[in-house]
């Protein structure tokens, strides 16, 4: 049985870890996706196919690879990050970054390709051009952010493997649900599941509201 204070702590940690991972994914995915969409270089199609494959990365595989890297005897073992919230953030970033990158590239590729020439033809510098392309694609870019967040707030495999589901330290909503179910505490598991669903719904509701507002303007 979980206490109220523990539920609050688990919920807060879930939100914190997934929000940070999504924001880092955005910092990686937005520029990388833009480069892939606007660039004209060899291996572009190959890189895009890798990113698109990455969008379907199984979280347990990510968990396994990150765990090997962070394991005490692993290449990054000296950082002592295994079974910490940072380890979960790393794993979730690996899951969300390809999603944000792939959807950013798709959003920009959907714009009229002459729009780049038009902006340059009006005297835009490269950063100004990119800024206005992002502005034009803001609705699908917001969808990319929502998909990125959705992919990490709901995953359990990677969080379990690299976080260890340690009470008061790395237990998040999804790993807590798995634990409660394995103990036969279906009531608690159901309550936590409902909480997770409501939270995910509220965050997506807020983002959808922003998205629709942008569409109506």
């Amino acid at each position: 049985m979980l206490f109220d204070s523990e539920i609050i702590q688990i919920t807060f940690l879930s939100l914190q870890v997934s929000t940070v991972a999504t924001l880092i994914s955005l910092l990686i995915g937005l520029p990388f996706g833009t480069w892939l969409a606007l660039g004209n270089f060899r291996f572009r199609s190959f890189l895009l196919s890798i990113i698109n494959t990455g969008m379907a990365l199984p979280p347990v595989v990510v968990g396994l690879v990150v765990a090997i890297m962070l394991w005490r005897s692993g290449p990054l073992g000296d950082l002592h990050l295994i079974y910490t919230p940072i380890a979960i953030i790393i794993a979730q970033t690996v899951i969300a970054a390809p999603v944000v990158t792939g959807l950013t590239a798709a959003a920009l590729e959907a714009l009229d390709p002459r729009l780049q020439q038009q902006l340059l033809g009006l005297g835009a510098s490269r950063p100004q051009m990119i800024w206005y392309l992002w502005r034009e694609a803001r609705l699908p870019l917001l969808a990319a952010l929502m998909a990125g967040f959705g992919s990490v707030i709901s995953e359990v495999g990677a969080s379990m493997m690299v976080g260890g589901n340690i009470r008061g330290q790395t237990r998040v909503l999804t790993t807590a649900i798995v634990l409660e179910t394995s103990k036969g505490e279906f009531g608690t598991a159901l309550a936590l599941s409902t909480l997770l669903l409501v939270l995910t719904y509220l965050i997506n509701l807020a983002l959808t509201w922003i998205q629709q507002r942008g569409q109506k303007r």
Partner: protein
């Protein structure tokens, strides 16, 4: 002044445009006519430095384009495409876009945008979003957006091709007045010889990626330089 000297433009390693010599004088509007796929738009993109040239030089004010700082040069020109390509913002904001890129003050932007909105008769549209405009209205905004920059060189790529004949006629009249008033150097691509004659002092005929003839509409009609020009004129008159 623009001087095109012996340029070659390639796409996928295939020559799509070769121009031995072509001049555009200060204050002059040069029309480029030719059939679809002849290389008209390619020349315009090369003049805007939006396409690389494989050989030769384009000189702007006697200095080769490659010696100009890319951004500095692009800020001396303005480009109008066949499709208005407006951004999802208000008409006023769209027209002010190029001024914003150049860091022009709000007061000056307001004054310049207001003047062009008035000139093009789109006062009633200024607060509307671009997505709510008709094709003709959107192209007017696109012209205002280009003229507000007071560019040294204005490049117009078939700006009226997608419009119905009455809208097109009115816009051509307005553009003609604007070009005459501003005395701006302009290159206007079209495949309509009458439109070209109305808007420009000289016409260059491009066929199969080569400039076949440069002259007034009268000269071209009365003395086509070769058989390809004659055939093109016949095709137009049918």
């Amino acid at each position: 002044m623009i001087e095109v000297r012996n340029i070659l433009v390639q796409r996928n390693k295939r020559a799509v445009l070769e121009v031995a010599s072509l001049d555009i004088n200060r204050g002059e509007t040069l029309a480029i006519v030719g059939p679809n796929g002849a290389g008209k738009s390619t020349l315009l993109l090369a003049l805007a430095r939006l396409l690389p040239i494989a050989r030769g030089d384009i000189l702007f004010n006697s200095k080769p384009l490659k010696q100009w700082d890319e951004l500095e040069y692009r800020r001396k020109i303005s480009f109008v495409f066949q499709s208005p390509l407006l951004l999802d913002m208000t008409v006023e904001q769209n027209i002010a876009l190029g001024l914003k890129f150049r860091g022009i003050s709000k007061e000056e932007t307001h004054e310049r945008v207001g003047r062009r909105i008035k000139q093009l008769g789109i006062e009633s549209l200024s607060k509307r979003r671009a997505s709510q405009l008709s094709g003709g209205e959107a192209q007017r905004v696109s012209l205002a957006r280009a003229f507000v920059l007071e560019p040294e060189l204005l490049l117009l790529d078939e700006p009226f091709a997608a419009l119905d004949p009455p809208t097109r006629k009115k816009l051509i009249e307005d553009l003609s007045a604007l070009l005459a008033e501003d005395q701006r150097m302009a290159v206007f691509v079209t495949h309509n010889l009458n439109e070209a004659a109305e808007l420009s002092q000289r016409i260059a005929v491009i066929i199969d990626g080569m400039v076949r003839q440069v002259g007034t509409a009268k000269q071209i009609k009365s003395e086509p330089a070769d058989e390809t020009v004659r055939a093109f004129l016949q095709e137009l008159s049918q």
